[in-house]
């Protein structure tokens, strides 16, 4: 492809600088989060209905685990008390029910071609989606917590939380959401090749369910499964924040942060490569 000589771009009245300062970039992605939060208020009844589901789930878990602890005849299983287990499930379900379904959104944008229109704006498509989803995630997790808290307090009592460790747990939670975003987006972008991504989504959900600690805290798994589950990224999304909140352990926390950093770097690089490849071969449906 031959190139033309570049003509200078006139400065524009009411125009824009080409290079965004850090503050402007922060405001840019922050405002994406903010508008999504505002938008969520339009769907507040839907969100409330979904969040109310936590009451049912948590009640069932409480009955189940009360019976399990009673049959074992011990107050602690694999280092977790019944109260800690109840609070563990509240946090794990909060993440699972609250997190934004990036795979669904991105694959539908790929399929109907609307991914194209996001490309004419001066932001990165993936960063846009992360912050867009974060607005919704924060809102939904807040609602789930709101409904789940009374149930957990009633059956589990005051949570066994060391409050000084909460900031570290929030950091783990933030990285967990980023890791989930990376994996879910990669599934969404698969739509470029496979058209339909529902099966990959199902596999991912099941992996989170079993290896991610949504069914059982990883501590309850048999040893042969616990080893890999602690290293794989799925447990870093759901298990790690929930476990660290109810039974904080500094060694485990540092291990988790290290593993999160490694997986985010590795899978994030993969996602960027996949994205750049996909955008190059973008063919707009209906265009």
């Amino acid at each position: 492809m031959d190139q033309f000589a570049r003509a200078p771009v006139d400065s524009v009245d009411g125009g824009v600088p080409q290079v965004g300062t850090a503050a402007k970039v922060f405001l840019k992605y922050g405002s994406i989060l903010y508008i999504n939060l505002k938008n969520q208020l339009a769907y507040v009844w839907d969100a409330l209905g979904r969040a109310f589901f936590i009451v049912v789930i948590l009640y069932i878990f409480v009955q189940l685990w009360t019976a399990v602890y009673a049959s074992q005849g011990s107050a602690v299983i694999a280092g977790l008390s019944l109260a800690a287990t109840i609070w563990y499930f509240l946090v794990a379900e909060m993440i699972e029910l609250g997190k934004f379904r990036h795979d669904v959104r991105i694959s539908s944008e790929v399929k109907d071609g609307s991914i194209a229109y996001a490309l004419v704006r001066p932001y990165h498509y993936l960063v846009y989606h992360f912050f867009n989803g974060l607005g919704e995630t924060v809102m939904r997790m807040g609602l789930v917590l709101g409904f789940g808290l009374p149930v957990a307090l009633y059956y589990g009592g005051v949570p066994p939380i060391q409050w000084a460790t909460v900031p570290l747990v929030l950091l783990v939670l933030g990285l967990a959401l980023l890791l989930d975003f990376i994996m879910a987006s990669a599934i969404g972008l698969l739509a470029f090749v496979t058209e339909e991504t529902a099966s990959f989504r199902l596999i991912y959900q099941k992996l989170i369910f079993i290896l991610g600690g949504l069914l059982l805290p990883l501590d309850f798994l048999p040893d042969w499964l616990q080893g890999p589950a602690r290293i794989l990224p799925f447990g870093l999304v759901t298990y790690a924040p929930a476990k660290l909140l109810v039974a904080f352990d500094m060694t485990q926390c540092l291990q988790v942060l290290g593993l999160q950093a490694v997986w985010i770097t590795a899978l994030g690089t993969g996602l960027l490569l996949q994205y750049n490849w996909a955008v190059r071969r973008l063919a707009v449906n209906g265009g």
Partner: protein, 367 residues
Amino acid sequence: MQSEIVHDIEIAVPAVGDVPAVGAEEYDAHETAVRVRGLRKVFQVKHKAPGLRGSLAALWQTQTQTVLAVEDVNFAMRKGEMLAFIGPNGAGKSTTIKMLTGILYPSGGAATVLGYTPWQERRQLAYHIGSVFGQKPQLWYHLPAEDTFQLFARIYELDMVQFRRRRGFLVEAFQLHDLLNIPVRKLSLGQRMKCEIAASLLHGPRIVFLDEPTIGLDVIAKQQIREAIRTLNQEEGTTIFLTSHDTGDMESLCDRVVIINHGRVIFDAGMAELKRRYLRRKVIEVHFADGDASLGDGVGSRAEATAFAMPGVSVLQQDAFGMRLAFDSYRVPVDSVLQAVIATRPCTDITVTDPPLEEAIRRIYSE
């Protein structure tokens, strides 16, 4: 009435090659808004035979079909120009726009928009261009347009003083006074479209790509949008790249037309040139002065007695009150027809009309 097709007039239409191709001219680099040379886009489309057997076969061996969406497009645009970029469905319009806005990578050729290569410098270019895809809303549906405006102010990194001044200008130009604080879902289509277009102009783009901006709108909304676009072009020198199937949009806005079909530019000239070349069929409507007086005494015979006839002119309709004639103004000069009409009988009114622009475009498409 005007779009009536006259079968008995054979109009000689110049071959497309005869039309001067303005786009081939080179503008000075500072003058150029868009330059496109040999642009080409090939899509690989999966091909599958119908039925279960076809689906099963496709599992083993995917057959791809090559679709040539844009074959070889060449043109240039001056800064401040208003260009209509038109063509039948599937001609390659949208694909071309998507390459010029950086959405699609071309398969070959070169293009610059404001000096940027769109697909390589997409995000830098994004600050300087605006785009409206009529069928693809960008406003947040459940929120008032003002919320999207503020989001865009942040996305395009405007400072708040610039933003407010700009918003004030657009509110005036598009008459959005009461609309910005109503949730978008409660606006009419016309109101929403005005907000959509205004939103894409907030960052003061130097060039705006409008893809079917008035689709589905009523006459008044269309008129308001056209006027606002014209204001923008006149006051700020914004370059306008318009695709539309609405000839009204083109006629009221654009001074130049580029027509593409089968992925190639088949016509590129001024709007006046297009009309002169392709809209040569004139229709003359005549009202006779003594029409009423002659009503009582055998209208039929009298009309026959004075039946109008002239070589190259077909009589569409004639009675005691008047007549309608059609002819090719390229072969029969308008003044000679008028003289002949006046010579027949005294007239109270004579109207000469051009056929609609659609007719010219239909001719070009069908070539």
